[in-house]
């Protein structure tokens, strides 16, 4: 075993420029990774957005955006080290380490970069910068964050409704929701929307399961469905639920079908997401006045 590892290690060290360096250092030393494996759908989106798409050789089974990403069977939930090593990567980007991923990659001498789920917008910008540096595209990354910041500021600075609108963000059919302190909740807050799930987060998880009674009583102006792909929910299925015909959003046709993926990732598409939500809020105002 050890004998087999030594040449592998040497190879990896050579590829990495020399031992012990972080991917950021690699880029600074002028060597760009040419064989990137992404085990995170968000990282995949970010890699392509900073112009490193051409260096990506494999992405995990859930990385479905952009369409030209080299999607494989690699699982991000149960990463298989041999399968990953099979792509001879010189950089692996991942979001969660379910067990021995980091240690395993270290043993194989494969440089790895963890980009955990963003807790706030600044985390997204930081991850973009980090990926830009690591892949040799710092300038593109800088431009991307600049554009995103400007766009988001513009959308958030748009006209506000006279009365703050209440919304319910649905994660699945069992009425799991996300509060304002989650990443997605902070995006809604940027537009001045009030989250009905905030009152329900007694244990502070950020993702409480709401009572149907409570959702109906809270009477949200807007309902956002982030369970259209996973669980086949639509404005029609929501309207058909017992008692939900009493909810203002259902009466007003303000049940918005989101793309589950966009609503659960922290990549560049959050700008499109915000634009969509903002348009819905503006539309509500027009109807209201």
């Amino acid at each position: 075993m050890r004998k087999a590892l030594v040449p592998l290690l040497l190879l990896a060290l050579a590829a990495a420029g020399c031992g012990g360096k972080t991917p950021g250092d690699t880029a600074e030393s002028g060597r760009q990774p040419r064989r990137i494996v992404s085990l995170s759908p968000t990282a995949t989106e970010l890699l392509f957005a900073v112009g490193a798409g051409g260096q990506v050789v494999a992405v995990d089974s859930n990385s479905n955006h952009p369409a030209d990403a080299p999607r494989t069977d690699l699982s991000a939930y149960q990463p298989n080290l041999e399968a990953i090593a099979g792509y001879k990567p010189d950089l692996v980007v991942y979001s969660d380490d379910p067990g021995e991923l980091k240690a395993g990659l270290e043993k194989l001498g494969i440089p790895a970069l963890q980009q955990p789920a963003a807790k706030r917008l600044d985390d997204t910008y930081a991850q973009i910068d980090q990926l830009g540096k690591a892949t040799g595209h710092p300038a593109e990354a800088g431009r991307l964050t600049e554009t995103m910041r400007a766009e988001i500021q513009k959308i958030a600075g748009g006209p506000r409704p006279e009365r703050p609108l209440a919304y319910y963000h649905e994660l699945d059919k069992n009425l799991y929701s996300a509060t304002s302190k989650t990443f997605i909740g902070q995006l809604y807050a940027q537009l001045g929307l009030e989250n009905i799930a905030d009152a329900a987060d007694k244990d502070g998880s950020g993702y409480p399961q709401l009572s149907a009674e409570y959702v109906v009583k809270a009477d949200p102006d807007l309902i956002f469905l982030a369970d259209t792909k996973c669980c086949g929910q639509t404005a029609r299925t929501v309207a058909a639920r017992d008692g939900w015909d009493q909810v203002r959003a259902v009466k007003a046709g303000a049940v918005v079908e989101l793309d589950d993926d966009v609503a659960s990732r922290w990549g560049p598409r959050i700008v499109d997401f915000l634009r969509l939500i903002s348009a819905k809020v503006q539309a509500m105002e027009t109807v209201g006045s």
Binding site: D172, K173, P208, S211, Y214, V216, C230, C231, G243
Partner: protein, 358 residues
């Protein structure tokens, strides 16, 4: 010891229970159920007001005309969200307790529960398959998931039964062992499918944790026929289950065909379990805790045990669900957590304070 004495089996009060005591216990259980149901209708994450709810309920009675003062929305919350959930909780609790008692009786095994013969594993696999590979059913009149879970639960038990019989033996032990084998196999397949289709994990997990949260009248309508049928069959067989307690050979010397009784009772209990699982996911503990608690209070004769389990199971799950939706209100607790968390200590208490033995 004569056969009749062994049939009685209750160590403290051997022989048949006086009819008056039986009626008293049944009445007390019914009162508990009525109290639990009323409390569950009155209390919830949304305050509707006791007077308002009572007036609204009374207003639906024929010849009664009262204005409850509830808004249209509050009335919808009461009639379309809270009431069906209480009714469904009662039905599911009754069926799980009934099935648990029945399995424990025909297998002479105190640890038997409704999921013993692969019903849970079968339902779990079928639900996972429906979520992972099923067609989009959002435009269908009936959701595919409960139908799949029901079919899976029945198929799991049928597979266990077929395996047990092909093994040559028709004894309780062979059947339990084949149930264990079938359940392990089905669970392995389910795990494999989940790993292949990891985007389904969330929905499968949500289903397993229990789905009383989103209960409506359609689920109630779905399970009522099975509940009535299986309860009737098991009620009719309750004396025969008592006879099985003496063992298959002795039962047959008394003219009872043990394997046949077991088949009929298992079929009915499986229908009940499958229907419960289809609408509520996997709610554990009810099928074990309720029959044993009833046994400790009322003795082990199935004549009284079966009807008492039906009533006590309903009351227990209604109360457990009440806790699930109020403790963290307006957030929910998974019902399975509540049944185990409150059920286990309660059971321990009953075990300690009771002078009877199981």
């Amino acid at each position: 010891m004569t056969v009749t004495e062994r049939l009685g089996r209750a160590p403290v009060a051997p022989g048949p229970r006086p009819a008056r005591l039986r009626a008293g216990l049944l009445l007390a259980a019914c009162a508990c159920l009525a109290g639990a149901a009323l409390l569950a209708v009155l209390v919830g994450p949304v305050r509707l007001g006791t007077a308002g709810v009572l007036a609204e309920l009374a207003g639906r009675l024929p010849l009664v005309d009262v204005d409850s003062g509830l808004s249209e929305r509050d009335a919808a919350i009461l009639w379309q969200l809270r009431l069906p959930r209480v009714v469904l909780g009662g039905l599911v609790g009754a069926m799980l307790a009934l099935a648990g008692a029945a399995y424990q009786g025909v297998f002479r095994n105190p640890l038997a529960d409704p999921y013993l013969l692969g019903a849970a594993a079968g339902a779990g696999l079928a639900a996972t398959l429906a979520i992972a590979y099923g067609p989009d059913t959002s435009s269908w009149p009936v959701d595919l998931l409960p139908v799949a879970a029901f079919a899976g639960a029945v198929a799991g038990v049928v597979a266990a039964y077929a395996l047990g019989r092909s093994g040559g033996g028709r004894t309780a032990t062979t059947l339990i062992l084949s149930g264990v084998a079938v359940a392990s196999f089905l669970t392995a397949v389910q795990t494999y499918v989940q790993q292949r289709q990891d985007e389904t994990l969330r929905e499968v997990y949500g289903w397993i944790l229990g789905r009383l949260t989103t209960a409506g009248w359609s689920e109630v309508v779905l399970v009522v026929p099975y509940a009535l049928l299986s309860a009737a069959v098991i009620l009719l067989h309750r004396r025969l289950i008592d006879v099985l307690a003496v063992g298959d050979d002795e039962a047959s010397s008394l003219g009872v065909r043990a394997a046949r009784v077991r088949l009929v009772v298992v079929a009915a209990a499986t229908l009940a379990t499958a229907a419960a699982v289809a609408v509520s996911g996997l709610i554990g503990f009810v099928g074990i805790i309720v029959p044993h608690t009833v046994r400790l209070v009322a003795g082990s004769s199935y004549r009284l045990l079966v009807p008492l389990c039906l009533i006590a199971g309903a009351a227990f799950l209604i109360l457990a669900d009440l806790v699930a939706r109020t403790v963290m209100a307006p957030a929910e607790l998974p019902i399975g957590v509540v049944t185990a968390f409150f059920g286990a200590p309660f059971f321990a208490l009953v075990l300690r304070t009771s002078r009877r033995s199981l």
